[in-house]
Subunit: 745 residues, 2 copies
């Protein structure tokens, strides 16, 4: 018992250690050599653009979040009367204020990690480029450390935020028991979702609009080379890489970890009640368990960063993989300690006389294994060394149409192994959890669902490392751009090219990881939703307004309302993607208009005597992207609310679950299809495609042109719609969780 | 009571009348002028190809069906022991034989209607071409009458088949009561599904492989014009039009009507029991009701055929619409009569004192209205006069990539109005049904579900007419090809061009209708599945091996197994489509190899002294397509069985329902996206696209080339994968219905 309580201190310790380590890494990176003056000039323009983006984007999101908090506070105040409150004593104003505060803290923490991550990312790129002049290993380390700043901050701020607000509410608000507190902090997850939606959607629209728009106005219209610095859109494009993969994915995974922590704590309440009734040593440990696991994950990642090293002639992917495996193995150890100490069931044992903690330990291992599986599945489907990408490259020989058809077939195909892996992970962790024999007073098994929660925790232990690898992507991508622009020596450019290729793989792989964790987190969140609905109905039963038969025991698909809601959930995913994809085209128009204006009104640009206004293009594009994200954003938020009000609390659960299934699969199709198209183009550019006579079909051939079409099609799929769907899936979960009282009839 | 029994005679009367009328139409069409010798020569080659296709395709499907019947018989014999049989007295051999026979009859009736429809279709084309030399109205009538042969046969054989086998089993097999008989004939629906899967999948692969393959080997490789008769693949392509839209869609809707009839009869058993208990005049009328409604639909369509007329200068679409509205209005009258006579609840009334039959009548009207809604929704999304197609055409200005992105966005968008319309139809018809106050002994409402069944019946009343319009498509398409090949006079070609454009619309519209009816039919079928499972568990409760708590009262998505099965159901839809799309590419290779061989070994082809071997190309392509359909076919059949065995009867219901939702939406995306791409190309070819200076961007421009890419991408989407998904959705339903005993634990 003492040990279990002591172990809870790992939460703030690990959180603060991770923040401190992030600061150390930031200092380390910033203190490094910034390279030649030419390099610094390019980097400065990127930084200038990024600053313009951050200012505009986060001011808008901040204002939206503020408005959101007020609206949510008012809605909760009006809706959450004593009759439908999860904690009746706090009904009305107290719970409204607490939810609004939690929402704001969640939003602020997510924004802070995004802003700081971006800040470091756009300063690491030039250091990585400079390091590439000297050493591959050093360049890898700079990029990885720069990326790790994001990774640590995202996970640590999410952990500290959840822990802080939980501690504050359970310690300082009168009458809140430890079993009620998890329900009071769901606003934190909703705030994180809200920011993630707009960060990912606005960022995704921005990045691809900049890509497409600058190509059209520069290469096609003005006839200047693709990455020519006279085209102000080019810098917007380089900024965009950081926006999508650093800020966007960071917010995405911030949300995953926050929502997963809160959801798992809510499920932990079920175990807490059993532990309390049975008199096991440390009941609250079941509620704090998810946070402790996360803390160990952070510590494991800190150690792993020092293992990112290798020989100069080594494949850089191996260096990153080395660190990943260290994180994974240390996480297993952390999991072992945590389950052993915190899941103390005294004399009670699970199936076959094996203690409960052992079963849960293995459930956590299932989660870690799922994470590893997804890393390799994504590589198979998007790397040029395997069948799918080669198939698309081959299909390019007969033109763009067959390239598109083949890529679509590959994208569709990837759902199979994704769904089966998630299915096995859920089934195995649920089964393992059931063996723990956690049965509540009503005779229902609680362990099974908790097993899936532990698997999700296991999976998310490596988040900080995965995010570091992800942000490695835009840093090396930018480093390549800087080396190119500044005409760096061939050796440096060869190194940045190699790193860029690795970065493409890590970016794809993070999406696979994000989607898998989103689906596990979602399953846990709708279990939490059911718990919350039943907590409220339970209160109503006590108040005599409802009977036990009103409890939500099943989300019955055979019920017409549930079925209709499910249909709408699956539709939402397509409709939302349609709006997101269309928004890219509309936003690209703004960039085209502005660059045209610069060419026209600043005649010195063309002969290099005048400097294009980079920041203005970024700002205009950002504003356009922010405007364009309103419609899909509103659709995403309004649909579950409308369906919940019209069809009730059981139906909205159907929307949530089937929307999650549909969203996970469509995101898989879009992400992997897009990644495969991208790499099929790279495969051809690398000269791997040959015709019947053995002649290489490289750049400039019709096959390459066809592959470029596929790559362009894949861009808004994999960088706008796909990642936005990850966020949508989790938003559905947190929105219904927060607004549950509104839907109960 | 007497009247209700008398009305049942409408079933055989309408069925036989429709067959007789189809024969009359066939005679009428065949007796018409076959046109010039040149026309007849071309038509003969198409016919020759079609005969080769029919022979190969239906021999294979027939053998597969025979094998399928044996396997199903054996499985049912082994599985359906007394303990898990729906009709315990017939457990083992009797039920195995009865299911196998029903399967074979369903398969044979579906095949027969497909073969005869194709037979007439490939003979109507030349008559329509010939009529176009004289009169637009006559050409429309010939094509529509030729198409109506298919329409009537499909619906009539399905009706007579279900009625015949039901009558035979309930009258001649000892101990079968009228309430048990509907469960015994589900094999008929499974047989129809089985044939439809292979007809649609094999046919869809064939038709697009012929299209793509003949283009590549002729236009690209040999450098001869696109529709040059020296290329034997061209005829395979013309044959393909009939294969997909006549035989394929015919089998698709045969299955819809058969499955809907059987499912509605099973649900009718619930109403039958209530009627019997309450002593209402004619309890069996509730079971026969769906068949009588279908009978009235056939009679309405017979009358409507005579309204397909108009002025020479009229838009042909108006003539077809005139007949469609006559069918719809007469169907409303038929529905009014049937509900009034057959739903006699004596003194019992529904909500607000309104008789039950009135509520159900309006539920049926909801179905008919849904059918009308889908006709217009499809037109909006796929016709050049509206925003979506114009948007794609505009996007073509910036190349193939933006064309594809825009088409994808449109395809995704179409799911919104589709899902909402289906949702409203289900909700309204369910609500109306609930008002009828049909409550069973256990206190459960039966009327709601039955209301959705009546809506499905209403929707499917117009099937024969819709199918006639659908087959109108390939007939006029072929007529256009014949007029072109035979260098018919300009006036005739102008008429066939106009008809061809209308045919494109009717083909698209039938797909919309098919998918909407598939989703309504599926909802009804999984209600029937639950009824069947509970019938079996009810028997087990009587036998004392189970208790009342084992009854399937909900398909609980929050259950891990159900959720996993649902995930797999949604994934199956993508994976199956991926295999179908890929099969097109592989099959196209066979046609290329054979045409190359002909060019090489028959040097006379090129200077027109030697006739290409058309039949051989068709046969080889057919064989290749049949081989390629094996893998997706096996996946479609095996997945529900495996999931059912591994995860149980509740989980497989989850697979079925979420698979249906996912299938309906993905089919909508593929069908409408494909249709919109096709028409965006036609829109540009018609000269509607202009650049910024007002210059027309027509054939030969880069914008047109970009639109051709979109059209080619859309081909396997809308003609192979999309329609095959309709069939997959229904196959999932019939397979689980037949094999339910296998899944019960």
């Amino acid at each position: 018992m003492v040990l279990a309580s002591a172990l809870q201190w790992i939460i703030p310790i690990a959180g603060i250690a991770a923040v401190a380590f992030a600061l150390y890494l930031a200092r380390d990176v910033l203190s490094r050599d910034k390279g030649t003056q030419a390099m610094q000039d390019v980097a400065d323009t990127i930084r200038e653009g990024a600053d313009a983006f951050i200012k505009r984007q986060y001011t808008t999101i901040g204002l939206l979040a503020l408005a959101g908090a007020v609206v949510i506070g008012i809605v909760i105040y009006l809706v959450e009367t004593r009759e439908v409150a999860d904690v009746p004593d706090l009904a009305g104003a107290p719970i409204a204020v607490m939810t609004a505060i939690a929402f704001l803290v969640g939003a602020a923490a997510s924004m802070a990690s995004g802003i700081i991550g971006m800040y470091i990312s756009v300063r690491s790129n030039v250091r990585a480029a400079s390091a590439a002049q000297r050493s591959l290993v050093e360049a890898v380390q700079v990029a990885m450390r720069g990326g790790a700043v994001s990774g640590f901050l995202v996970v640590a701020l999410s952990l500290l935020g959840v822990w802080g607000i939980f501690t504050a509410y359970s310690a300082f608000v009168g009458g809140v028991t430890v079993r009620e507190a998890p329900f009071l902090i769901v606003g934190f997850g909703f705030g994180a979702s809200f920011v993630a939606l707009f960060a990912q959607l606005g960022g995704g629209i921005y990045t691809k609009a900049a890509d497409v728009g600058s190509d059209l106005v520069g290469k096609v219209e003005a006839g200047i080379p693709e990455d020519d610095p006279r085209n102000a859109g080019v810098i917007a494009d380089l900024v965009g890489d950081n926006v999508g993969d650093c800020a966007g994915r960071g917010a995405d995974l911030f949300e995953s970890t926050a929502a997963e922590n809160i959801g798992a704590m809510i499920l932990g309440v079920g175990a807490f009640l059993i532990a309390q009734a049975a008199g096991w040593p440390s009941p609250e440990a079941w509620i704090f368990f998810p946070l402790v696991v996360r803390g160990f994950g952070l510590l494991a990642t800190i150690v792993a960063i020092f293992f990112v090293r290798g020989r100069e002639d080594e494949n850089p992917m191996n260096m990153l993989n080395r660190g990943y495996w260290v994180t994974t193995i240390l996480s297993v150890v952390g999991l072992l300690i945590t389950t052993n100490v915190m899941m103390n069931t005294a004399d009670a044992v699970g199936a076959n006389g094996i203690p409960a903690w052992v079963w849960f330990f293995f459930a956590g291992v299932v989660g870690l294994a799922t994470s590893v599986a997804f890393v390799y599945i994504t590589q198979y489907y998007t790397a040029g060394t395997f069948r799918p990408v080669r198939e698309i490259a081959e299909a390019s020989k007969t033109g763009p149409a067959t390239n598109i058809i083949s890529g679509t077939a590959v994208g569709f195909e990837t759902t199979a192994v994704t769904a089966i892996t998630i299915g096995i992970a859920l089934f195995a962790s649920h089964w393992l959890g059931q063996q723990a024999n956690l049965v509540n007073a009503a005779g229902h098994d609680v362990g099974g669902i908790f097993g899936t929660a532990v698997a999700t925790m296991g999976m998310l232990m490596t988040t900080a490392y995965i995010l570091a690898m992800d942000t490695f992507g835009p840093i090396t991508d930018n480093a390549g751009g800087i080396a190119e622009f500044s005409h760096a020596e061939a050796g440096a450019r060869e190194i940045t090219d190699r790193l860029d290729a690795v970065g493409n793989t890590t970016k794809a792989l993070t999406k696979g990881y994000a989607i898998a964790s989103a689906s596990l987190a979602a399953f846990l969140l709708f279990s939490a939703y059911i718990d919350k609905v039943n907590l409220i109905i339970g209160n109503q039963i006590e108040a005599g307004t409802k009977t036990a038969s009103d409890l939500l025991t099943a989300v019955n698909l055979a019920d017409v309302s549930v079925f209709i809601a499910a249909l709408i959930g699956a539709m939402l995913v397509y409709f939302f993607s349609s709006l997101a994809i269309r928004a890219v085209g509309t936003t690209a128009q703004s960039i085209i208009v502005e660059v045209r204006r610069q060419f026209r009104e600043m005649p010195g640009i063309m002969d290099y005597t005048q400097r294009p206004d980079y920041a203005r293009v970024v700002d205009i594009t950002t504003r356009a992207a922010l405007r364009q994200m309103v419609l899909p954003g509103v659709v995403a938020v309004a649909t579950p609310i409308l369906v919940g009000i019209l069809l009730g609390h059981e139906a909205v659960a159907g929307l949530l679950m089937v929307g999650t299934i549909a969203g996970v699969l469509l995101a898989t199709v879009l992400n992997n299809g897009g990644g495969a198209w991208d790499n099929a183009k790279k495969y051809i550019e690398a000269g791997h495609l040959v015709d019947a006579d053995g002649k290489v079909l490289g750049k400039g051939t019709p096959a390459h042109a066809a592959a470029v079409v596929g790559d362009t099609v894949g861009d808004p799929f994999k960088d706008t719609a796909g990642p936005s769907l990850h966020v949508l899936v989790k938003l559905l979960a947190t929105i219904t969780l927060v607004l549950a009282p509104l839907f109960i009839r």
